[in-house]
């Protein structure tokens, strides 16, 4: 078991959601649901995050923002699409400005259905994403033959 399973840090991006799934995602952090039990922190900073939670569909303007955020997240990382809008576009799929679900832009690992997705479902999605993160970490380890990424092995990957 790798440590990534013990401390998945999330980053929440609101695509073009109606706020319903957003507030449910935030509600996961609060006392009744308290997702910090699993070591989850809402980082707010892509460079620190392991799991990207996207609510709402993708449109032409936030497409680049989403890609940018995803590219700034260091590997291993997972993407969760929360809510029906993030999965297919939902009720707004027919709108002219909506491209569709998040998977049009990013590889999505976990789909959490619902309108709005309930906090229990979101927590379940995050726990499932932990499994995927661990798998991705194993793949990285096979490639690099290192269990830990040693600090001096860092790469110049991102610049402004």
């Amino acid at each position: 078991m790798s440590f990534i399973a013990k401390s998945p840090w999330i980053l929440h991006y609101d695509g073009s959601s109606c706020n319903g799934c957003d507030i449910e995602t935030l509600a996961c952090l609060t006392p009744v649901y308290d997702i910090e039990r699993f070591g989850v922190i809402n980082t707010g900073n892509p460079k620190h995050a392991d799991i990207l939670i996207v609510t709402g569909s993708v449109n032409h303007q936030n497409r680049d923002v989403l890609l940018n955020i995803y590219n700034q997240m260091p590997d291993p990382k997972a993407v969760i699409a929360v809510g029906i809008c993030a999965i297919t576009g939902g009720i707004f799929a027919e709108c002219y400005n909506v491209l569709g679900g998040v998977d049009k832009v990013l590889p999505v690992d976990i789909y959490v259905p619902g309108c709005a997705a309930r906090p229990e479902a979101i927590i379940d999605g995050i726990v499932k994403a932990i499994g995927i993160l661990e798998m991705k970490h194993q793949n990285m380890r096979i490639k690099s033959k290192w269990r830990l990424r040693w600090p001096w092995k860092s790469e110049l990957k991102f610049s402004y």
Partner: protein, 359 residues
């Protein structure tokens, strides 16, 4: 004149979960200009009227915004009912009022949490959201949903609330009042919170009126304007006074919302005590023809719906002017001249709802 820095604020930013983008021009830590740019949430749902039938469009209207979802549905339904001249049963009107006020409580409690988070008091954020959960429990118990509950439909409401549940609801809300005292007490009396809120982002009465502010933002500047006075739903028969404060700063906006929480609980108690018996919906036949403006008071302020129908099953034009949209000029005005560390406070005390702005 110091060196100017431009800080991109959003669209992804931990303080504001929603994608508003602001370019803040800073001189050291002082904001000299703020340029908002929107469109990250723009879906164009006003055009969906040509694809969804008028009765089906209620679902879209509810998803304009997930926080005041019920009120958006209510506004749309009222506009269509107005055009079609439908008499909504009394009981349905009272139930609508109750759900609308529950939405207001849940929205304000959520706002208190986000505001606490903005000035770095994590503990208060957790407390407010914990109280909010008890309101959500009531909403779930009565309607089946937590944030988007689809209780409103053209001609009435979708389900009835039994008298026992109504009684329980009143008791729970009465109990909630005690917890709210603690919450609002911290907001209004704590010294460090007061330091972050008092005198910050002042909007004078004249500026508020000139810039078209609405809702708690306007009432905090001393203007008595509350669309509930129009008497839609059952408000005509309930007695209440709009809450106003005179300072126009972030603290006053907090105080307005704090007092509105109690007002809402009081309104619900009044509505429950006056609740008539009878049906909760009427049959709707035909299609709307005509046009209508409908205004409601949302947690964030006055919202206006314009519906124009031509007698087919599809509405011709639907427009919604949401409170946050008209509060943008006030927000820009307040941001200018304040500190960078005040930006989250000022933005949040406007209570922005970006998906409302852009629809």
């Amino acid at each position: 004149m110091g060196k100017q820095t431009i800080i991109p604020f959003g669209p992804q930013h931990p303080v504001l979960p929603e994608p508003l983008h602001l370019d803040l021009v800073l001189e050291d830590e002082r904001i000299v200009d703020a340029i908002p740019s929107i469109g990250y949430v723009h879906r164009g749902l006003e055009l969906l009227v040509s694809k969804k039938e008028y009765a089906e469009y209620v679902y879209v209207a509810e998803r304009i915004c997930g926080i005041c979802s019920f009120m958006h549905g209510l506004g749309y339904c009222q506009a269509v009912e107005e055009i079609m001249e439908i008499q909504v049963p009394e009981r349905a009107l009272f139930l609508r009022t109750i759900w609308a006020e529950l939405s207001r409580i849940h929205s304000h409690l959520m706002w208190f949490g986000l505001a606490a988070d903005a000035f770095g008091l994590e503990n208060l954020f957790m407390l407010s959201w914990r109280l909010r959960e008890s309101v959500l429990d009531i909403i779930e118990e009565t309607s089946g949903g937590r944030v988007i509950f689809g209780a409103c439909k053209i001609g009435g409401v979708r389900r009835d609330i039994s008298p026992e549940t109504l009684r329980d609801m009143c008791q729970k809300l009465e109990k909630l009042k005690g917890h709210m005292d603690r919450l609002t007490g911290v907001f209004l009396n704590d010294r460090s919170v007061g330091y972050r809120l008092k005198g910050i982002g002042v909007l004078t009465r004249e500026d508020a009126q000139r810039l078209g502010a609405v809702g708690p933002l306007l009432r905090a500047s001393g203007v008595d304007m509350d669309m509930r006075r129009l008497g839609y739903a059952a408000y005509e028969r309930l007695s209440f006074e709009p809450v106003t404060e005179n300072d126009g700063d972030c603290y006053a906006r907090c105080a307005v919302r704090a007092r509105e929480l109690y007002q809402s609980i009081d309104l619900i108690a009044q509505a429950v005590s006056m609740m008539p018996d009878g049906e909760v919906d009427t049959k709707v036949l035909g299609a709307p023809k005509g046009e209508c403006f409908m205004r409601l008071e949302q947690p964030r302020g006055e919202v206006l719906y314009y519906v124009r129908a031509d007698g087919t099953r599809y509405i011709e034009r639907f427009r919604v002017r949401t409170p946050t949209f008209t509060n943008i000029p006030s927000m820009i005005h307040c941001l200018k001249g304040c500190d960078f560390s005040d930006v989250p406070n000022v933005i949040l005390t406007i209570d922005p709802c970006i998906s409302c702005i852009e629809r």
